[in-house]
């Protein structure tokens, strides 16, 4: 059984192809969205999802979020007494989703299709693959997120010949893909994106207002305060989408700041972020050689596209209202499930074929003639142009710079700049050649890029036929197989909070978060509730716990509702 997983910056989802249709799989709490948060409990057990998200505020030093942003880098996060790589944290989220899928489907799940932002680099894709392995999942395919959204959209598209654009603004990344559908073929024409632009950046804008309104800058160093602030800002962002205005009070030491914002101000504030949305769209349209007028539809994906200003911008850009009908949070996971169905050669998808592109230009470094007869090094010679349909294999021939040269160094780069210094180095091969004017045939360089975005480079010396080959294992964050095996062992040894009581653990985390935010009598009262619920939990009598949990939840809801209007406590 292959499942489809949307491993998001903010939330993750799992879905499967069941009875000829994609279906979302609920987590232990019954929800479809599992927050991409990981926490380590006081007793050393791992909490994933909603419980960890609640603990971000109460235990910021034992909880991690937004780690997708560091995938493919060497940056690690300290939780409790251990450092965790972003791959490991992602693996813990994947493991939790895997457990949910197994509980729902009633059988072991060992293979998955994981979605990644289309504009994810080589290193980021590799890190995602490693995360899958660490979670005990064979990653059958890394699927581009906008392509997944397109698959979910195209499944029900009656019009068999259509061109459309997917506008995917998630929690942390922005992707654009332009697709063409004809005769059952779903063809990605072009993809572009920004890996550092998402809904979280919009929430940060609101959070920053607190500092403009009197909170001293040194509060930025206080992890507890920052998590509290970010949570309030995120809540305000959602409220803005629903009611057009939002406000909250937040305190730090003796100062209290009031943050009030309406949609107009928010939009003005967000202008620099909105401006960054233009470039990838323009580029994708130009690369696909399509004008906005030629598009039949615009499909929105990603939770951040719920923001009214994003919808308004998309409407203005394309002169039409974007397609509605799919939940933007869920569409990517559904598409991943469609891809799982395709992979399993499901009969219902017999007529459907999908091709994707390589969103980056890949090439090598060359020395070039300048017009004044001199030579200059450091130029970039593309071998695979961006937005070429994959899998693809291309050969270019390169000559030695001088006749006396004894070897040729082939540097492999990813990027768009004319000069290699501005592109990302992926690796290099040095190969000996025979010097002398008679042997100046040079080398053939072959780049092979597969459907998963893995690049292989092969260099052949034309004169001798000698061949050298590398699979690019690049980046500061590269993990050799023995390292993966070691980390897998460590991760397996971690105690995971049991799934059947996760709901109560989450409830408790939520209560603790509320407790920190409250003051006075309500706080004391809540303290009593928490104490009592902890005692009930200790009995391990599931029937008793379930009964008490219901009234506990109700009490929390009441407090939360009232609390919205209560001032933020100063600590």
């Amino acid at each position: 059984m292959i499942v489809g997983i949307d491993l998001g910056t903010t939330n993750s989802l799992v879905a499967a192809w069941v009875d000829g249709a994609p279906r979302l799989i609920p987590n232990a709490l019954g929800g479809m969205l599992t927050p991409s948060c990981v926490g380590i409990d006081e007793d050393g057990s791992v909490l994933v999802g909603e419980a960890a998200r609640e603990r971000l505020q109460t235990h910021p030093l034992r909880t991690a979020s937004l780690f997708k942003r560091y995938m493919g880098s060497a940056r690690s996060v300290r939780l409790g007494d251990r450092e965790y790589r972003p791959e490991e944290l992602s693996a813990l989220v994947l493991r939790s989703l895997k457990a949910d899928a197994e509980a729902y489907l009633g059988r072991p799940v060992t293979e998955a299709i994981i979605t990644v932002p289309a504009y994810f680099s080589d290193a980021q894709r590799k890190a995602t693959r490693v995360a899958g392995e660490l979670a005990g999942l064979k990653v059958e395919r890394l699927l581009n997120e906008p392509t997944a959204a397109a698959l979910a959209y195209g499944l029900h598209e009656a019009n068999s010949e259509t061109q459309f654009l997917v506008f995917d603004l998630g929690g942390g990344t922005f992707d654009v893909s332009i697709l063409e559908m004809f005769e059952g073929v779903m063809e990605v024409r072009a993809s572009a994106g920004d890996n550092m632009l998402g809904g979280e950046d919009f929430a940060t804008l609101i959070a920053d207002l607190a500092f403009a309104n009197g909170i001293p800058d040194d509060a930025r160093g206080d992890a507890h305060f920052m998590q509290r602030l970010v949570a309030r800002a995120e809540m305000a962002k959602r409220e803005l989408s629903n009611s057009g205005a939002a406000s909250f009070d937040i305190g730090y030491k003796e100062t209290t700041a009031r943050v009030a914002i309406d949609n107009d101000t928010f939009e003005k504030l967000a202008q620099p972020l909105l401006n960054r949305l233009w470039r990838p769209i323009e580029r994708a349209l130009r690369d696909a050689r399509i004008r906005a007028a030629d598009l039949d539809n615009v499909v929105l994906a990603g939770g951040a596209t719920r923001m009214p200003m994003i919808r308004a911008l998309a409407t203005r850009m394309f002169g039409r209202f974007p397609a509605v009908g799919h939940n933007p949070d869920e569409v990517v996971a559904l598409g991943a499930a469609v891809q799982a169905g395709l992979k399993m050669k499901d009969k219902a998808l017999d007529e459907m074929v999908m091709t994707d592109v390589c969103p980056y230009t890949l090439g090598t470094e060359v020395v070039r003639h300048l017009d004044n007869g001199s030579q200059a090094a450091g130029f970039y010679a593309p071998v695979i142009q961006r937005n070429t349909v994959v899998p693809v294999s291309r050969v270019e021939r390169f000559l030695p710079v001088t006749a006396q040269q004894k070897q040729i160094r082939i540097g492999v780069y990813q990027g768009e700049s004319r000069m290699v210094r501005d592109n990302v180095p992926l690796g290099e091969i040095t190969i000996p050649i025979l010097p002398g004017p008679g042997h100046a045939d040079g080398v053939d360089v072959r780049f092979t890029y597969d459907v998963n975005g893995l690049l292989e480079v092969e260099v052949t010396v034309v004169a001798t036929g000698d061949v050298k080959r590398i699979v690019i294992e690049s980046g500061e964050a590269h993990m050799p197989p023995d390292e993966i095996a070691r980390r897998l062992e460590v991760l397996s040894a971690l105690k995971i909070h049991p799934r059947d009581t996760l709901e109560y653990r989450t409830l408790l985390a939520r209560a603790e978060r509320l407790y920190e935010q409250l003051l006075g009598d309500v706080r004391d009262q809540l303290g009593q509730f928490i104490l009592r619920f902890e005692q009930v939990l200790a009995t391990q009598d599931l029937r008793l716990i379930a009964r008490d949990a219901a009234s506990f939840r109700e009490a929390l809801q009441t407090i939360e509702r009232d609390y919205r209007f209560a001032p933020e406590p100063t600590t």
């Binding site: 061109q163 005769e183 073929v185 024409r189 233009w278 470039r279 323009e282 580029r283 349209l285 130009r286 690369d287 050689r289 399509i290 004008r291 906005a292 007028a293 030629d294 203005r316 850009m317 394309f318 002169g319 039409r320 074929v353 091709t355 230009t361 090598t364 060359v366 020395v367 070039r368 003639h369 300048l370 017009d371 004044n372 007869g373 001199s374 030579q375 200059a376 130029f379 010679a381 142009q385 961006r386 937005n387 070429t388 994959v390 693809v392 294999s393 270019e396 021939r397 390169f398 000559l399 710079v401 001088t402 006749a403 768009e416 700049s417 004319r418 501005d422 040079g442 092979t448 459907v451």
Partner: protein
Amino acid sequence: MTATLWHLDVLGLPAHADEVAIRRAYATALRRIDPEVEPAAFENLRRAYEAARAWCEATAVAAVEKEPSQPAEVAVASDDDTMVEDDTAQSSGENIASPDVAPTVSIDYTIHLAWRFAADVGARRADAIPSMLDGILAELRTQYIDAPGQFEEHLIDLVGHQRVAHRAEVFAAAETRFHWSEVGHLSALGQRGQWIELVLAQREAWLALAPDRRRSWTELFVQAEARLDTSLLARWPEIARLNERFPAWLGLHLSDETLQAWKAAFDAQPSSAREVYMNLAPPESAYLPAHIAATRQARRQRSATWVLASFFLAMFVGVAQFVVTGIREGFPVSLTSPVVGNGTPADTPRQCVELYAELDKPDAFDGRPLEEVALLKARAHRCERAGHWHPPTRETL
């Protein structure tokens, strides 16, 4: 002709296949191949498909332009990695004269914006150019998504055809804002992109020259553009030499008119005077990168043998071929005009030049009905498609 139809063989199609048949054949063949298992078979199919689409489009263009010799050439030139225009509306060559459908930006909006910018640049200081461009970009972002791209093309035309002052500054400001250092962007820009690439490469070479030389020449450019004084006559041999080496780059600093007037004034001198001026010009090494020129100078002073040796060194440096296939030739032609005239014959290269001159006038669109403007733009667009768009070349000098 049949030699170029290998792609139709791969798709199992007859020579008269149309676009719909090509797509259908590709779709059918694709279902029998798993790209993951048989990448080579997939790639072969994909190449055939893209070539067939390119061929199909070229045939359609040729049919419209009534130039029977074109399809074969284009089919050869548009090789396998040229991406193919989805061009259903134009392939049949009929009912394409319909005006813009929403949501296309009205063409004259971006043109007027470009012209307003050109006029502003002429009236203001060069250091205001970046903020002026930022202002225009902000204005464009209140429009449809196509607007910035359209403006960019008009701007390249203005700079390339020397219709704007402070071209070097405009170019530099536009370069960062429109991402002109991106290889993929330049190739998507078609011939305009090729021109930019030319300017960038020549600028690279220019920047390698000795800084004091560059400074003195830059001052000379400014002086000459302000007033072509007789005192500048003696400097023409230098300018002629620079114009040979960096024509596109020089075009950002010196207008064609200045160059022509300069040359004419020089040619009008008696030959004895011209010879004196020629001898006054700096040595050949002045036009070489500073480090090479310095090395050569030092060696020349040592011994005659070294002079000979450095000559050979220079030969190697100059002659060795570094990159053969790294730089692609077949830049795809960009298609952005919303209107294609139906039935009007294509312009000859000469007519195209005249047409551009007409369009480049500041008042080109004043008082003209929109349809006429659209038609002019469509003609210009076809000129561009036929390869007749070109920045000023200095061959005539």
